[in-house]
Assembly symmetry: C2
Homo-oligomer: 309 residues x 2
């Protein structure tokens, strides 16, 4: 079988070259290639692609900025794919880390400098038999559910339509409009929903008041989904267990902000998907799509230009 000619640009890395050649492709100039793997943003993208290019793989999961360029319009016969889904695994892993560290009281343990077994042991909780609401059951949410199931958590999944999520561990799927029912029924909450006008401050004062004193809130989506002031108030008062936040509002979180000093707030600076992990995950995604392309199978994460995403 002849290898499929694939172009790589603008940056060549051994990892991506290996992903392409290991999946049945061979590196080629754009003039001779059937596809282009583009590992950068829109700046510097070729004004006109050669006619022989049938498919372009882009580097990011969200492609809003590409719609601000004429790239799609200029190439109506080219199939574009994004990296949607490629980074869900590392973000879900980060969410699980924050949730587990909170529920099992790691911050209190790290602050201790002596063997306070009885006292510290009392603060240890478990995800086993705990109800965890996963708000937003897209790529990240589904990956997270797969991590929670073997821990014995009972997941309430919330998605836009309420279409049942058929994964082990999910005890119920609710549509977004029934979100108000979730807060009083769950132990913990993980926010993994997109930022839209409708999801702004979905977790505010009234919602926090319905959570339990042991409840942990994890946000790995967008800071604006949580009302920061209301969260700080709940954390200070101890009406919830704590919060693990990879995203904040405002972001970056300014120095001196109370979230930096609250012992029950775990803040990571939007780095759940740092460059070194992103690169590896993108290479895996490229390998999968090159393999599909060489076999004539349907590619993953195809961009629907007409629909705008």
């Amino acid at each position: 079988m002849t290898a499929t000619p694939i172009a790589l640009g603008p940056n060549h890395t051994p990892l991506l070259e290996q992903a392409i050649t290991g999946a049945g492709g061979e590196l080629a100039d754009p003039a001779d290639a059937r596809a282009l793997i583009w590992n950068a943003g829109p700046e510097g993208f070729p004004e006109r692609l050669p006619e022989n290019i049938e498919w372009v793989q882009l580097f990011s999961a969200g492609v809003e900025e590409w719609f601000d360029t004429p790239v799609f319009d200029r190439h109506p016969n080219v199939l574009f794919t994004s990296a949607a889904g490629a980074f869900a695994g590392t973000v879900a892993e980060h969410a699980l880390m924050l949730l587990l560290a909170g529920v099992r009281a790691l911050p209190e343990h790290l602050a201790a400098h002596s063997w306070r077994r009885q006292e510290l042991g009392r603060s240890i909780g478990t995800l086993r038999n705990a109800t965890v609401a996963v708000v937003g059951a897209g790529g990240i949410g589904r990956e997270l559910i797969a991590l929670l199931a073997p821990l014995g958590s009972r997941v309430i999944a919330v998605n836009r339509s309420g279409t049942p999520i058929d994964l082990p561990g999910v005890v119920e799927t609710l549509p977004a409009q029934r979100l108000p029912e979730v807060w009083s029924r769950t132990d913990h909450v993980v926010i993994a929903a997109p930022a839209t006008p409708g999801t702004r401050h979905l977790l505010g004062k009234a919602e926090l008041a319905q959570l339990k004193s042991h409840s942990w809130v994890v946000n790995i989506a967008r800071g604006t989904l949580v009302d920061t002031d209301a969260l700080v108030e709940a954390l200070r008062a101890g009406t919830i267990g704590g919060a693990g936040l990879d995203v904040t509002d405002p972001e970056p979180l300014p120095e001196g902000h109370p979230l930096w000093d609250l012992p029950n707030a775990l803040v990571t600076p939007h780095d759940s998907n740092p460059p070194q992990l992103r690169t590896v995950a993108f290479a895996e995604h490229v390998a999968e799509n090159v393999s599909r392309f060489t076999k004539g199978r349907e590619l993953i994460a195809r961009i629907d230009v007409a629909a705008g995403y």
Copy 2:
């Protein structure tokens, strides 16, 4: 169907009463019961059980102290079961928490009080595609493997015999005698083996020297399996990533011990299975065995008195 009469002692708790009645049993006096659920140690155990007692459920996973009493010898016709396996889930969850918090650099993040995204992001690793050696693949080890598999880790399992562990995520099972091969091949190590003369200091200076600078070591078994002085030296020198320790040698770890202050040592005071979680897990175990007993099925965690465990 008539409920099976089960006695509970020495302490009645609503949780255990519910476990018994919810599984097809009904609470009865020992004189009228077919089984006894005993939620304490040997002290205060009846000198002679009524003849009608066929089965006794004990409270602990290890039953060494019961073999120092005449209880088993005095009741040769009674089947005794331990709580072996009941607490594996919570200990495995704790091990995963320590490993994830270490690999994803939570301690550095908690020490930061400003948005140092680029710098902190560089220190974040992942368990995805990472090799994790699980040394000791008994109850806890197997539970942990089930948690690691969906994270995409490649597990090298080590058990006494090398009998292949047939679980997703396990890429190889090695017998204990081939442990020396493991250190240079793995990213991370979780120690879940029993403490025996043969496992003392199984992780010492020579073994630590073969690990990687990003390697995390987690010990949730017994402190003596690790050479503490060699570990402190490696943590100080930064030749490994860090250590998450629920057990230490000596134990309790004295105040002023270097492990309390090293930023890459996460110490929890042997509280991975604290009383409040232990109680719940024991109740689940009782429910399972009562259900099996009422149906005439084989009980789990039967004690083999002749074999001594």
